[in-house]
């Protein structure tokens, strides 16, 4: 899965880091650092992070199996 966070929108609420700690980590108090490429085993955690982000800043490709962008 590929993902990108719109860090202009992100307000460092850290919900994502709590729900998918292998993908999103806080660097200092409110800086978010994340891995833009994650394996399928992270699917559920990432889905939860996307849903929980209060500002809708996380965009993911390949979250649903059917997604076939190109």
């Amino acid at each position: 899965m590929r993902l990108v966070v719109d860090l202009n929108k992100c307000q460092g609420y850290a919900q994502c880091a709590f729900l998918a700690p292998d993908v999103f980590t806080m660097h200092g108090e409110e800086s978010l650092v994340y891995n833009p490429r994650v394996g399928p085993e992270q699917r559920e955690q990432v889905a939860r992070a996307v849903a929980a982000c209060p500002v809708g800043a996380i965009a993911v490709e390949g979250l649903r199996e059917a997604s076939d962008a190109g």
Binding site: R2, N8, H27, E61
Partner: protein, 464 residues
């Protein structure tokens, strides 16, 4: 054909070509399809890779939290495009409506989007730039090389230029436990983008994190050893710093060379376009089939005195790509202006730095929340009696509020009460921007004047 009818035909079976297959190019392609474009779509990119994200290259990648090879941008919808990757566009014939490629092929278009971005400004002395151990950081390939070298535990990393990218690189190196020297011509890091008051805070941030920061100096030369590896950097104050890695972080050059002789208003400051993203030709007359988006564009903004702004900002590339795509397939009355509020983020030494508006226009700054000493604050910039920009250090939640103040042209100095206002924040002080003719480093805003047609541009018609 009347305007409406033409656009209907264009949406159905027109040919759209996008040159530059990165953030702006990809998002424009997606927006074209989302907007109902059913014709043929071709993306031309000189990098052999599919579109990837650059901001992680100086952050997550160097911190070891992401692979330099895997920052590809998620695809947000199908583009059904023909991708011509690894081949550069070398020329444009605006009359015949064709893009010439490096492999000799010509690609015809009905509408063209130029999103060729910028490239890293190389170290000016070519023989020194070629030394093994001298790097720039703009592309994925740059990141792979730099990442590999940092992993080999160099004795010292020497960063030339303390703009955003240079500072982020220094920060990542310190996080990896590497010795770092940073040389900056101005009095502090980020001074070109955020001014001297904030630059002083950034300087403390560097030093407290163990960076050997040298300000008010320039690098006069890089020295190599007999095997062609960089060995030392020489500074204008006479000092010499032994180092085995040098990262040149001196800002960017706009990728407009390939348009030389095309008749487009393209030059070293970018490609001028109107608020609808339509490019100007070299006479200052707007075209109707060539559009521009992203780092390569310069575009007038009503909130900032209609100055032409060049924004090396991720968010601008996305927003402008969407507006350009919409306007490319829409008739006159349906077109939209690109009125994006400049916004930027950076992450360094564990501090989240964000800004909105155009700080470089600010004559004065006042700290309306928090304190500089705690490195947790909001600074508001004033220009001719109104709020023109704001910057936050670890205080980003308030920026939406200040964005509204900028949009509203709220008065400066800021009289209203703010949360966590300290005595030091009651009075404005000079923002401390250097002479604007000095180059700034790092992704930021450049005010590039008022006139779409650069008088100094000399038009030499290309031979077709």
């Amino acid at each position: 054909m009347p305007d409406e009818e033409y656009h209907e035909w264009l949406r159905r079976e027109g040919r759209i070509v996008i040159v530059g297959a990165s953030l702006a190019g990809l998002r424009a392609a997606e927006a074209l399809r989302a907007g109902g474009f059913a014709g043929s779509l071709t993306l031309i990119g000189d990098e052999p890779h599919e579109p990837y994200d650059r901001p992680p290259l100086s952050k997550a990648v160097l911190l070891g939290k992401a692979s330099p090879e895997h920052t590809e941008l998620p695809r947000l919808r199908r583009t059904d495009a023909t991708w011509r990757l690894g081949v550069a566009a070398t020329g444009l014939d605006m009359t015949a409506k064709r893009v010439r490629l490096a492999d000799g092929e010509e690609v015809p278009y009905d509408r063209l989007l130029i999103a060729t971005g910028v490239r890293a400004r190389p170290w000016p002395k070519e023989d020194e730039a070629q030394l093994d151990g001298v790097f720039v950081l703009r592309t994925r390939d740059d990141a792979v090389r730099l990442h590999r070298r940092l992993a080999a535990s160099p004795r010292r990393v020497f960063v030339i230029g303390a703009g955003f990218t240079g500072s982020e690189i220094a920060s990542a190196c310190r996080a990896r436990g590497l010795a770092v020297t940073v040389a900056e011509r101005a009095d502090g890091p980020l001074v070109g983008a955020l001014g001297g008051v904030i630059g002083a805070v950034a300087a403390d941030l560097h030093r407290d994190n163990g960076v050997d920061l040298r300000t008010g100096v320039t690098v006069t030369g890089l020295e190599g050893d007999a095997t062609g590896r960089v060995r030392a950097a020489h500074l204008s104050d006479g000092s010499v710093v032994d180092t085995d890695v040098v990262v040149v972080s001196l800002g960017a050059i706009r990728n407009t060379d390939w348009l030389k002789g095309s008749g487009l208003g393209a030059g070293p400051r970018g490609i001028a376009c109107d608020a609808g993203c339509r490019a100007f030709d070299f006479r200052g007359i707007v075209t109707d089939d060539v559009f521009v988006a992203g780092d390569v564009a310069r575009c007038p903004h009503p909130l900032f005195g209609y100055q032409f702004l060049s924004l090396e900002h991720w968010g601008n590339a996305v927003a402008q790509a969407e507006v350009a795509a919409h306007n490319m397939i829409s008739a006159g009355a349906d077109r939209r202006p690109h009125l994006w509020m400049p916004a930027f983020w950076s992450s360094q030494f564990g501090v989240n730095i964000k800004s909105v508006g155009v700080p470089a226009m600010g004559e004065e700054i006042m700290i309306t929340q928090g304190s500089l000493a705690e490195r947790r604050f909001v600074g508001v910039y004033g220009h001719q009696g109104r709020v023109i920009a704001a910057v936050s250090f670890d205080n980003s939640r308030w920026l939406d509020f200040y964005q509204q103040q900028i949009e509203r042209g709220a008065p400066f100095p800021v009289e209203y009460r703010t949360v966590d206002r300290r005595p030091e924040g009651r009075a404005p002080m000079p923002a401390g921007f250097p002479d604007p003719s000095l180059p700034t480093h790092g992704p930021t805003v450049t005010l590039s004047g008022y006139s779409p047609a650069d008088r100094q541009l000399v038009f030499t018609p290309a031979r077709h």
